[in-house]
């Protein structure tokens, strides 16, 4: 007779493979069904293009689309950087002075709860188009960075803070060696949200600006292709946007993991 095998502890490799393979199978099945339905029912591409057509369009229009992708990514990056620097800086300012926090925090909330799609047209009136788009992206991404950093700076261990006080730490030392490291997991979580949001902000602003003219971002391509009934290109642009979002999230998640892997619970494996 063979030795009893514990059924609860599957090898971790198999578990991981399953988590990767299953979504891929679902994805492939979906694509095959989509392709099949379009071919069997003979649906015209301006109603619903088949996946193969979308891929072909992506290759054929790559010159135009890659340029739009670069534009959108640049806008997203600029918005993200502006939101990160602004959010962290304002949170630090709030942390230094309750007066500033009480005076400004309500306005940060107002900015957050007002839908950006409604602000975008106004920004386009007052700012140059490229600036307006970046400002839009950063407005959307700004709040999670601000609120997470504020939360992080306020969750410093009370006894550790006492220890710094006991050893006569200056405010700069306390900030550098205690508050910022303690807030780091929160800041990184905020940045992870902000990455996706700045892409959303960029797209929203491009769509709002799109009809106004010279924009060439992916969202503008989608709007433009819609007017021209170039549905395959719409789908191809959407695919690129979606991929961009996944890559942005992935990059930020990896950065966060690398920074926190040695000490923070969130980055450690469940087993020890």
């Amino acid at each position: 007779m063979s030795a009893p095998v514990p059924i609860t502890s599957r090898p971790r490799g198999a578990q991981r493979a399953r988590r990767l393979v299953l979504p891929v199978i679902v994805f492939a099945a979906g694509l095959i069904a989509w392709e099949g339905v379009v071919r069997l029912k003979d649906i015209p591409p301006y109603v619903l293009p088949a996946p193969s057509v979308i891929i072909l369009t992506l290759i054929k229009d790559w010159a135009v689309l890659s340029q739009s992708l670069a534009t959108t990514l640049l806008t997203t990056l600029e918005g993200f950087v502006a939101a990160s620097i602004g959010g962290i800086a304002l949170a630090l300012l709030f942390n230094q002075s309750k007066w500033v926090e009480y005076s400004l925090f309500p306005y940060a909330i107002v900015l957050q709860v007002t839908p950006v799609i409604a602000i975008a047209p106004l920004l386009l009136i007052y700012l140059e188009q490229q600036t307006a788009v970046v400002v839009c992206a950063s407005i959307v991404a700004f709040f999670p960075v601000l609120s997470n950093t504020t939360l992080g700076l306020n969750s410093v261990d009370r006894n550790l803070a006492g220890l710094f006080q006991l050893y006569g730490a200056s405010p700069q030392q306390a900030l550098r060696f205690l508050k910022l490291p303690a807030a780091l997991p929160y800041i990184l979580a905020g940045l992870r949200i902000a990455g996706g949001l700045s892409l959303i902000g960029a797209v929203v602003a491009e769509i709002a600006a799109g009809t106004a003219g010279a924009g060439s971002g992916l969202a503008y391509r989608i709007a433009e292709s819609g007017y021209r009934l170039n549905i395959p290109r719409m789908f191809a642009s959407l695919l690129l946007l979606s991929l961009a979002g996944i890559v942005i999230y992935g990059v930020l998640a990896v950065v966060s993991h690398l920074v926190l892997r040695r000490w923070h619970e969130s980055a450690l494996g469940k087993e020890n």
């Binding site: 261990d157 006894n159 550790l160 006492g162 220890l163 710094f164 006080q165 006991l166 050893y167 006569g168 730490a169 030392q173 060696f177 205690l178 490291p181 303690a182 780091l184 040695r262 000490w263 923070h264 450690l268």
Partner: protein, 271 residues
């Protein structure tokens, strides 16, 4: 008859004191009176335990001595290093939790007080390593707190308190969260360190057995607001060891200290 001393005698007795509290009270903003009036005099090199029920203000007293909290009234005197530049360096503080920075290594945690005091990095690292070695963690300098056991984390915390070579070591229920085996071992290590380094130790605990085992004097506190209920001297053959823990004298002292502690609970629900 009131006892009087000449000014020079008062001065002499004061310089022999490491810590003296007179009529110290602490009332929180909420109006809760946590402490006092509380008097305490600890001689240099003495090992004193503050023992009392939870919430009696013993931790508050310790924080006041450390300067982490200001007394509402009364006077606090803490002897300082000769020519001490920065306040606080004459005091090492060990919290109930290890209170380590999780984002950095044991060595960097121990080096923190030196770093804040402007000690050059190389010297700081050497002193941190020496302090870690003194608590038996020489091999774990590069480990992160997360990778250490509860007892080891507490040792790192102790090493950090010792790294500035303070005259006074304040310990706030440092071993309360540890299992008994680890706690006994750390008790012995702490006694050995105290004997070799000659520091003044004020040790807050709610364990009768721990206080009797460790200290030369047990100060029993009343329930809130904390005052001195009894001041019991533990006299035994030094150095203490496991033999003392099982001796009848130890049992007698524990009974005596428990007896002094009992009135604190009268009229109070134990829940």
């Amino acid at each position: 008859m009131v006892e009087r001393s000449t000014p020079s005698a008062v001065e002499a007795s004061l310089t022999a004191l490491a810590v003296s509290l007179r009529g110290v009270t602490k009332t929180y903003d909420s109006g809760v009176m946590a402490l006092g009036p509380f008097d305490l005099a600890v001689r240099k090199g003495e090992f004193v335990s503050l023992l009392g029920p939870s919430g009696c203000g013993k931790s508050t007293a310790l924080r006041i001595i450390a300067g982490l909290s200001a007394p509402s009234s009364g006077t606090v005197r803490v002897a300082r290093h000769e020519g001490e530049v920065q306040p606080g360096h004459g005091i090492g503080f060990v919290f109930q939790e290890p209170t380590l920075m999780p984002w950095t290594s044991a060595r960097e945690n121990v080096r923190l007080p030196l770093k804040l005091g402007g000690v050059p990095k190389a010297e700081g690292r050497a002193r941190a390593d020496a302090a870690l070695a003194s608590v038996g963690l020489a091999d774990f300098a590069d480990s992160f707190p997360r990778e250490l056991s509860g007892g080891m984390k507490m040792r790192v915390s102790l090493a950090r308190a010792l790294v500035t070579d303070p005259d006074i070591l304040l310990m706030d229920e440092p071993f309360a969260a540890l299992d008994e085996i680890t706690r006994f071992r750390l008790n012995n290590d702490l006694l050995a360190l105290w004997r070799s380094l000659g520091k003044t130790v004020i040790f807050v605990t709610h364990s009768v057995f721990e206080s009797v085992y460790l200290s030369q004097r047990v100060v029993v506190m009343t329930a809130r607001p904390g005052r001195v209920q009894a001041d019991i001297r533990i006299e035994t053959v030094e150095p203490r060891g496991e033999a003392f823990r099982t001796s009848t004298a130890y049992g007698d002292y524990c009974r005596k200290v428990s007896g002094a502690l009992a009135p604190s609970y009268s009229g109070q629900s134990l829940l």
